[in-house]
């Protein structure tokens, strides 16, 4: 039996920890390291996205593709941004909807297949079911926009410190069922999964081929870390991916502040730890 592998083009480099560097610096590094795909985090200083519009998808796509890279996934900032999937105040809800609609259009212009999204969070001092309904309705209406634009939304879970809504596998399953739209699919975030004490096997057993995308990073269980800086077993997880025939993307959502000053060094270590499992490296 051959050892488990992943394909090079499954691994998406990400730019969150490049937030103090230019887009060019990020893309140059991904090309040099041997990435072929990226999940583009849509925030400044790399991409301007708000409820009014976005700048400048065409130029950015050209920058990506001229380096032999593909933007597979678009990840509009929606944890620290003013926009979330669960706005409460009326005057704000329409702006949030516009923001995500623009994000979906931007993803289509960039040539992406998927857009990573979450449930939003709701206020800590409000009834969870009320907040849940808002998220469900917003996700359904965004899935309709995504259908028009040819984009699939993938819903990741959040940590309990970030949200009281879609946090666990059970929440994920319930939300996907209630939204019930083919343009909303499942997404694993290995950190949120680990914090909730769940396993990759449980996710595959429960959601199977509906899982289309992942934020696949090391952690302990907190921290979105470079592979090697946490305490997860990469080899075991790669074996699990193979066992369930997962062929979707593995976004490298590295966010810890320790990587901000030298993101290239972080990507170098991270990529080489993943590269050991590439089928084309044997």
């Amino acid at each position: 039996m051959s050892a488990p592998t992943i394909r090079r083009d499954q691994v998406d480099g990400m730019n969150i920890h490049w937030s103090q560097w230019s887009l060019d610096a990020f893309l140059d590094c991904q090309e040099r390291l041997g990435f072929t795909g990226i999940e583009l985090w849509g925030a400044m200083p790399h991409l301007w996205l708000d409820c009014l519009g976005y700048y400048d998808a065409k130029t950015i796509r050209h920058k990506i593709e001229s380096r032999g890279l593909t933007a597979n996934v678009f990840c509009p900032e929606n944890v620290i941004s003013p926009y979330q999937v669960n706005p409460q105040e009326d005057l704000y809800a329409s702006r949030c909807r516009d923001y995500f609609t623009n994000a979906i259009r931007c993803a289509a212009e960039l040539g992406c297949t998927y857009l990573s999204i979450n449930s939003g969070w709701g206020y800590w001092n409000e009834n969870r079911e009320e907040a849940w309904k808002r998220s469900r309705d917003m996700l359904r209406s965004l899935a309709e926009v995504a259908e028009q634009e040819g984009i699939i939304l993938t819903l990741e879970t959040l940590r309990p410190q970030e949200s009281q809504l879609v946090v666990t596998l059970e929440d994920e399953k319930r939300m996907l069922e209630e939204v019930g739209h083919p343009n909303l699919k499942a997404m694993v975030d290995t950190v949120a999964m680990s914090v909730s004490g769940e396993t990759l096997e449980q996710w595959f057993e429960s959601l199977g081929s509906d899982i289309r995308n992942m934020h696949f990073v090391d952690c302990n269980p907190y921290g979105h870390l470079v592979w090697g800086d946490g305490n997860r077993n990469l080899g075991d997880w790669v074996a699990t991916l193979e066992k369930y025939g997962y062929s979707g993307f593995l976004g490298q959502e590295i966010t810890d502040e320790r990587y901000l000053t030298n993101p290239a060094a972080a990507d170098f270590r991270n990529f080489h730890n993943l590269e050991r499992y590439f089928e084309d490296e044997l």
Binding site: Q20, W21, M44, W48, L91
Partner: protein, 282 residues
């Protein structure tokens, strides 16, 4: 003896991001604050470069609780609006946002705004980015003069910006602009991270320090006084020695306070209350 006035204590609500505005204002008032620094970010104040919510309504809510908005701090480092972009279009949109924020500031009943000089990237040459910041802040100071507000420029940590992360940069910039509408803000955390002391700041900038973000740190953190390592009494001694009677903004941001921000406010206020003079002890 180290002393402060009750009116100098100024609440900041970043650690209330999981709760709505009313809950935050209740928390500030219950802790004992008379002044607040309102941060222009979701979910407590919604605005972008084309629109803002009604400041009058927020002002009434603050004043109904026996407090006043002493300072307005529009989003300036996490979101897309920043003050030192190289990209001309992004700079223009940020300036529209900042001008709108000045108008909001006045309508809230405040005449001071805090900001910083994020927006450059680490792959730029420092001096080039710094010269740009001097030009941009010259522009900002002239907007401020028209609007009748004072802008306080704080330093930030090196993870946030390459320029204006030290006393030297802030002082050089404030001197170069030379406008009565541009002053400096001492942020004790950025100061601590840069290895500087309050004495150095006051010796260099004196009365040009128009505001403080006065929080505990290790030196990182933005913590409740008592949770960090800073010598509170000695820092207050320095404020007294240089006759600083401006506000002491309690910028608490650490994730540990998000679940129970009211408790953090009360504990912090009590740590500082020990130094309050000029009234009967509560």
């Amino acid at each position: 003896m180290a002393h402060i006035k009750r009116s100098q204590l100024c609440a900041l609500g970043i650690h209330y991001i999981m709760y709505p505005l009313d809950y935050m204002l209740d928390g500030h008032a219950e802790a004992g604050y008379e002044a607040i620094e309102l941060v222009g970010e979701a979910p407590h104040f919604y605005m972008d470069e084309s629109w803002n919510q009604d400041p009058g309504e927020v002002r009434r809510k603050v004043e109904a609780r026996g407090m006043r908005v002493a300072l307005f701090t529009p989003e300036c480092s996490c979101m897309q609006w920043r003050n030192n972009y190289a990209d001309v279009a992004a700079h223009k949109r940020s300036m529209e946002f900042l001008k709108r924020a000045m108008d909001v500031c006045k309508k809230l009943g405040a005449d001071m705004m805090l900001t910083n000089a994020c927006g450059g990237t680490l792959d730029e040459d420092h001096d080039m980015a710094f010269d740009r910041a001097v030009r941009h802040f010259g522009q900002i100071a002239s907007y401020a003069r028209e609007a009748g507000v004072t802008v306080a420029l704080e330093s930030v940590r090196p993870e946030e910006s390459k320029v204006c992360n030290t006393l030297d940069d802030v002082a050089t910039l404030v001197d170069a602009v030379g406008s009565p509408n541009l002053g400096a803000a001492l942020d004790t955390v950025a100061m601590g991270v840069a290895g500087e002391t309050p004495r150095q700041w006051f010796e260099r900038l004196g009365e040009k320090i128009v505001h403080c973000h006065f929080a505990d740190g290790r030196p990182y953190g933005h913590l409740v006084w008592g949770d960090g390592l800073f010598p509170l009494e000695r820092y207050i001694d320095v404020l007294n020695e240089f006759g600083y009677e401006g506000l002491l903004g309690q910028e608490i941001t650490d994730g540990r306070y998000l679940d129970n921000p009211k408790e953090a406010d009360c504990r912090n206020y009590q740590s500082l209350s020990r130094f309050i003079v000029g009234e009967e002890t509560k």
